[in-house]
Amino acid sequence: MRKKIETTSKAPEPVREQIKEVMNAGGPTEDFLASVPEQVDATEDEKPRRKRRTKAEIAQAEASPLFGDERYMKAISNINSFGGKKALVAGFTLAGQPLDQDEEGEVDDLFYVIARRARFNPEASWWIIGFYSLFLLARLIVTRSKEGKRLLALLRDESSKSKESKEIQ
């Protein structure tokens, strides 16, 4: 039988602070008591996490159901450049120098690139759609007003004159 040990009533040496720190048990007793939980919960690792989505699921969630609608896509592409392409093409037409198909395509591409670079996404904001609605309304009103019609007629006349002069030359 081994001799019994620890029969002294002498107070033990305190546990070193470094050891308490390693064991996450340091600090004044009141502070420590406050840090000890009354109810133990799972650690972050064990907490049930939301299942991670696959790439296909993310793409499916991000894709708008309207992307299957051809008419919608065409309308959005028109709004994309905020009517810039139409205005430019119309301008050249009124000036008597209508653009050919290739040139129209280039202008369309240019405005598409501008819209993409500027992250101009009409789908993303009702503000853009609202602003575009006002812009469209204003354009239609102007083109149908007396002043507007007169301006268009003037442009047409000038363009026809320039054509005739070209033909004579």
């Binding site: 019994k4 620890e6 107070a11 546990v15 996450n24 000890v36 009354e38 133990v40």
Partner: protein
């Protein structure tokens, strides 16, 4: 009775119904002074009805308050809830905060210190427990199921009879063939769980660091013999004159 060290890590291993819990209860009821400052981490509810202990139900702060009241005498059975590992971590934190010498007793230690996923907090406890004046008494059904840091840190290991190949292999790797064979040849506990009658009192191997393993008989309450090593590597040749040389 097998005597405990002053502030040490002690491991008890044996299959179900081998005598582990009985041995631990004997230690808890002994007059060993460390047992006046003990927390039993009760995973299985073994101590729920025991009137010898204050009971704390899954509330580490309550345990801290109890110890604060009198850190020189506390006998607490802490009944943990669902998150065994997290609660054990908090209990160890609480115990390490106080300067007194104390002991934590944990049955089914493989739940807390499994071989592959032992939390950092448990590893820190096994490394620095003695510096925090914390003794650990832990039992598990299989020595092969617990982390090596625990088995390596044990100053005393008690092995009950087992025939499980992996456990015998683990014992052989640590203490040699002789010890593994001795464990297999130990007298096992024969206990009827229904009638609660013990039909055969077991033996155990006690391996204390620095000593050869010894066979302890719980019937006679004494050590019977040392375990003789049968390893060839352990046999030391004694130099002398060769008789055939002359």
């Amino acid at each position: 009775m097998i005597e405990l060290g002053p502030c040490e890590i002690t491991g008890v291993f044996g299959p179900p119904a081998s005598g582990k819990t009985h041995l631990i209860q004997n230690w808890l009821q002994s007059d060993f002074s460390l047992m006046n400052r003990c927390v039993i981490f009760d995973v299985t509810g073994e101590y729920v009805d025991d009137e010898n202990y204050n009971h704390v139900w899954s509330n580490p702060r309550e345990l801290a308050r109890r110890i604060m009241d009198n850190q020189w005498y506390f006998r607490v059975a802490y009944h943990c809830g669902k998150y065994v590992g997290e609660e054990f971590e908090q209990i160890v934190r609480v115990l390490c905060h106080f300067d007194c010498y104390k002991v934590i007793v944990a049955d089914e230690f493989h739940e807390i210190c499994p071989i592959y996923e032992t939390p950092d907090s448990v590893q820190a406890m096994l490394r620095y427990a003695r510096h925090a004046h914390l003794a650990v008494i832990a039992a598990s059904q299989r020595i092969a199921d617990v982390h090596k840091l625990f088995t390596a840190g044990c100053r005393m290991t008690v092995l009950f009879h087992t025939e499980e190949a992996r456990d015998l292999l683990a014992i052989r790797d640590r203490w040699g063939d002789g010890c593994a064979n001795a464990v297999r040849e130990l007298r096992p506990l024969l206990y009827n769980d229904v009638t609660r009658v013990t039909q055969q009192i077991p033996q155990a191997i006690v391996k204390t660091r620095g000593y050869t393993p010894r066979v302890y008989d719980f019937e006679s309450n004494c050590y019977l013999r040392d375990v003789v090593s049968t390893d060839e590597s352990d046999i030391v040749e004694i130099g002398g004159e060769d008789e055939t040389s002359n």
